[in-house]
Amino acid sequence: MSTLAVFYAVLFYVATLVLLGGLAYRIYEYSRTPAPLKIPTTPAPTTRAGVAYRMGREVVLFESLFKSNKWIWVFGWMFHVGLLLVLLRHIRYFQEPVWFWVEIVQPFGMYASFAMVAGLAGLWARRFLVDRVRYISTPSDHLMLALLIGIGLSGMMMTFVSRTDIVALKAFMLGLMTFDFQPLPTDGPLLVHLTLVALLMIIFPVSKLLHAPGVFFSPTRNQTENPREHRHIAPWAAALEKNKP
C-alpha cells in the first residue's frame, strides 16, 4: 500500500474517533448539566408528545428561523436538505450490497449538491452584504463556509467533471471498515475532498457545528410547559432545601 493510502487511512481513523468520541463527550456533558428552572419559550407544548412535535418542526422545517428571516431560512434550508440528500447518497460507498432506498436517493443526491452549494453561497454572501451579519462574523465563520463549499465543489468535480475511479474508492472505504487495506485512487479532486471532509469531522466537536446536538438540549425548546402541575427540581437545587429549609 502506498504512503498516501496509509496517510488517508490513518487520517480517517483519527477523524472518525475524534468525531464520535468528541460528540459522545459533548452529549454526555450536555445531558449531565442540569436545567434547574423551567424556561421553555412560551407559548409552549404542555405534553412530551407536543414537545417532540415542536422539536420535529424545528429540526425539519427550521420553524423559528422561518418566523425570523426568510432569506436565512431559504439558504439555510437549501443547504441542510441538500447536505442530507448528499450524505444519504454517500452511504453507497460504505456498503455492499447497497440498500435499495440508497439507490433511489442516488440521482437526487447528485443534484442536491447544487442546492447545497448555492445555499452556502447565499449564506456567505450575507456575511458581506448585510452590515449586521458582517459585524458578528468571525474568521472561523468564513472559514467554515469555505470548508463546506470546498467539500461540495470538490465532490461535484468528481461527479460532473473528472470522474474518479469510484470502484477503487469504494474498495478503499470498505477496506477501512474491515481492516483489509486497499489502494486509494490519487486524483486531485478526490484527495482534496477527502482531506476537507476529515478536517470537518475533526473540528465538529469543538466548533459551532455543535448546534446539531445542541438544538436537542436547548431548554427553551425541549422542556414541557407544565410547571404548575409538576415539581421540577435539579439535584443541586434540591440540596438547598436540605441545608436551610
Binding site: P34, L37, T41, Y135
Partner: protein, 510 residues
C-alpha cells in the same frame, strides 16, 4: 419631565420600526450606577473588584457552566446566522452593535471560548476568543444592563438561544466579582430586610390600605375591604408593592379588591409577603430568587390559605408561574415532604398559583361579575403583552391563554378595543423598555430608546383608531410607560392596568 440629555428617536410613519445601521459604541457611554458597599455586603458579594477579580470571574463562570445547561448549550450552539440581530428593541432603538442579541452573547462567548474551549486556547484569533480584560468586564456591565431579559430574541433563534439567560449569568458573575448594579441590588436588599421592593413597613401598609378602603367607599358607597394578615382567609393575594401606592398601579389594586368583594370570597394580603416582584430573577441568582420567594410560602403556611393569587406584574408572574413550584413548592406534583407540607393545604380544584386575570376571567365566565361597559366608553383601549408573561409563562389551560385571557377581560368590561400590529404583540411582543432591572433613572436613555418599537406600534393605533389607553398587566410596564410616553408626545394618563378597567365598569352590591 426634565429636558433629555440625549436625542429622543423619531416615531416612524408605520407601526413597525425600521432596522438601523450598525453603529459601534452608540450606547457605550451609558452605564448603570454601580452598587455600593451596603447592598453588596448584605447580599454576600464583594463590593469592589479585588486583585483577584479575574480568577473570581472565570471561577464563577465555570460554576455557572456546571449548573445551567442553558448557558453551556447557548454558548456552544450559536452559528452567527444573524437571525436575531434585528429582533431586540434596544438594538432597534439605539443601533448599538452590542445591543444585537448575538453580539451581547458574544461579549461572554469570547471569554468562554478563550478559557473553556480548545480552539479558543490554541487559536483565539480564529474563533473570536479573547482574554478577559477590564475593558471586557466594563462592556459586560454596560451591555448586560441594556438587556431587559425579555426573551424576544429566543423566539426567533433557530436553536432557541435565549440571550436573557446569558445576561442573567453575566450579572451573576459580575456580582461575584464585586461589580453589582445599584438599582437591582438595593431592591434585593430592601425586600429581604423589609418585605417589599419599596421598603414599605407593615404599619405603613396598614394605613395605606385603610385609606384606600375609605376612598372606595366614598367613591362607590360600597364598603369594599382590603384585608391584611387575616388567618384562615381562603385566598392570599400577592401583588407587586407598587400596587399599594404608585399611580396608576393602585387603580388595579382597587380593581382586584372589587372583584373579590363581588365574588364574596374571603381574601387577604400579607405584610410578610407584601411583594410579588422578585429581582433575584434579573440577577440570575437562584439562591436570592428562592430566598425571596420563600416569604410567600411562609405567609401561605402561616395564614393557612387555600389559594394563592398573583396581581398584575410581568416578571413576578413568570417567577410565580414557572418557578414557584420549583423554588418553594407552591403548585402541585411534589412528592417530597417540603413540597407536600404546602401542597396538601392548597385547594386542588384550582391552579396554584393563579393569575388575577385567570381568577377574574373565571368569574366572568361563570356570570358572577356584572359590568356597565359604557363606563369605559371614554377609553379606546389597546393591550400591551408584557414580555415575561408572553414568553415566560401562561394563563389558563391552553398555551397562549396569556394572550387571550387579558383581552377577553378587556372586551368584557369595555366597548372599544383595538390590537396593535400583529408583529408587535403576542409572542412577538416588544418589551416596554424598562424590564429586567433597567427601570432606573440612570438608564433613562436606554429606557426611552428601547421603548421605540412599542411606541411606534402604539402611535399607529392612536392615529388610525383613536386609541387613548394602553392597558397593562405589569407594574414595571406601568412605571416605565408613565415615564416614557411623554417623551414621545403622549399624555402619561393613557397608561393603566387591566383591572383598572375592571374597576371602572364593575357593578357592586353591598
Amino acid at each position: 419631565m426634565a429636558a433629555p440629555q440625549f436625542e429622543v428617536p423619531k416615531l416612524s410613519d408605520s407601526a413597525l420600526t425600521e432596522v438601523p445601521e450598525v453603529q459601534e459604541g452608540a450606547m457605550s457611554h451609558v452605564k448603570a450606577f454601580v452598587a455600593g458597599q451596603a447592598a453588596q455586603e448584605f447580599l454576600g458579594y464583594p463590593w469592589e473588584l479585588g486583585d483577584d477579580w479575574k480568577e473570581r470571574v472565570i471561577g464563577r463562570m465555570g460554576e455557572v457552566l456546571q449548573k445551567y445547561r442553558s448557558v453551556r448549550v447557548f454558548l456552544d450552539a450559536c452559528v452567527h446566522c444573524g437571525a436575531c440581530t434585528d429582533k431586540c428593541h434596544y438594538y432597534l432603538g439605539t443601533g448599538d452593535a452590542n445591543n444585537m442579541p448575538v453580539a451581547r452573547q458574544d461579549l461572554m462567548r469570547k471569554v468562554y471560548r478563550r478559557y473553556f474551549t480548545l480552539p479558543g486556547k490554541i487559536a483565539p484569533w480564529l474563533v473570536g476568543a479573547e482574554d478577559l480584560t477590564r475593558e471586557t468586564l466594563d462592556q459586560w456591565f454596560n451591555y448586560y444592563h441594556q438587556c431587559s431579559e425579555c426573551r424576544r430574541c429566543s423566539v426567533y433563534c433557530p436553536y432557541g438561544i435565549d440571550t436573557a439567560e446569558i445576561t442573567m449569568a453575566g450579572r451573576e458573575i459580575l456580582n461575584y466579582a464585586g461589580y453589582g448594579q445599584k438599582y437591582s441590588n438595593e431592591i434585593l436588599a430592601k425586600v429581604q430586610k423589609i418585605g417589599n421592593n419599596l421598603g414599605l413597613p407593615g404599619p405603613a401598609l396598614e394605613d395605606t390600605l385603610a385609606g384606600l378602603e375609605e376612598d372606595i367607599e366614598m367613591d362607590t358607597g360600597v364598603p369594599v375591604k382590603m384585608p391584611l394578615d387575616v388567618e384562615g382567609a381562603e385566598i392570599l393575594l400577592v401583588t407587586p408593592s407598587a400596587d399599594f401606592f404608585s399611580e396608576p398601579h393602585v387603580e388595579s389594586l382597587i380593581g382586584y379588591a372589587k372583584v373579590f368583594h363581588a365574588a364574596g370570597v374571603s381574601w387577604t394580603l400579607s405584610s410578610h409577603a407584601s411583594e410579588a416582584g422578585n429581582f433575584g430573577l434579573f440577577n440570575g441568582s437562584y439562591e436570592q430568587m428562592r430566598t425571596i420567594a420563600m416569604r410567600i410560602r411562609d405567609a401561605a403556611l402561616e395564614l393557612g390559605v387555600k389559594r394563592i393569587v398573583v396581581g398584575e406584574c410581568g416578571h413576578a408572574w413568570r417567577v410565580a408561574y414557572s418557578y414557584w413550584n420549583t423554588l418553594t413548592g407552591i403548585g402541585y406534583g411534589g412528592d417530597d415532604p417540603f413540597a407536600k407540607q404546602l401542597q396538601d393545604q392548597l385547594d386542588p380544584r384550582y391552579p396554584q398559583p393563579m393569575h388575577i386575570c385567570e381568577y377574574t376571567w373565571d368569574l366572568i365566565q361563570q356570570g358572577v361579575l356584572k359590568f356597565d361597559k359604557s363606563a369605559n366608553d371614554h377609553r379606546v383601549i389597546t393591550f400591551h403583552d408584557s414580555c415575561n408573561v408572553a414568553r415566560g409563562s401562561r394563563m389558563g389551560k391552553e398555551p397562549g391563554g396569556q394572550f387571550t385571557i387579558p383581552r377577553n377581560i378587556i372586551k368584557a368590561v369595555a366597548n372599544n378595543f383595538h390590537d396593535m400590529a400583529a408583529e408587535t404583540i403576542g409572542e412577538s411582543t416588544f418589551c416596554c423598555g424598562g424590564g429586567g432591572g433597567v427601570l432606573t433613572d440612570d438608564l433613562m436613555e436606554v429606557r426611552v430608546k428601547g421603548a421605540l418599537p412599542r411606541m411606534n406600534a402604539y402611535n399607529a393605533v392612536a392615529k388610525d383608531q383613536g386609541v387613548n389607553f394602553l392597558a397593562l398587566i405589569c407594574a414595571i410596564c406601568k412605571a416605565q410607560f408613565t415615564k416614557v410616553l411623554p417623551y414621545y408626545g403622549f399624555d402619561m394618563g393613557q397608561v393603566g392596568g387591566v383591572h383598572q378597567l375592571v374597576s371602572t365598569a364593575i357593578k357592586l352590591e353591598d
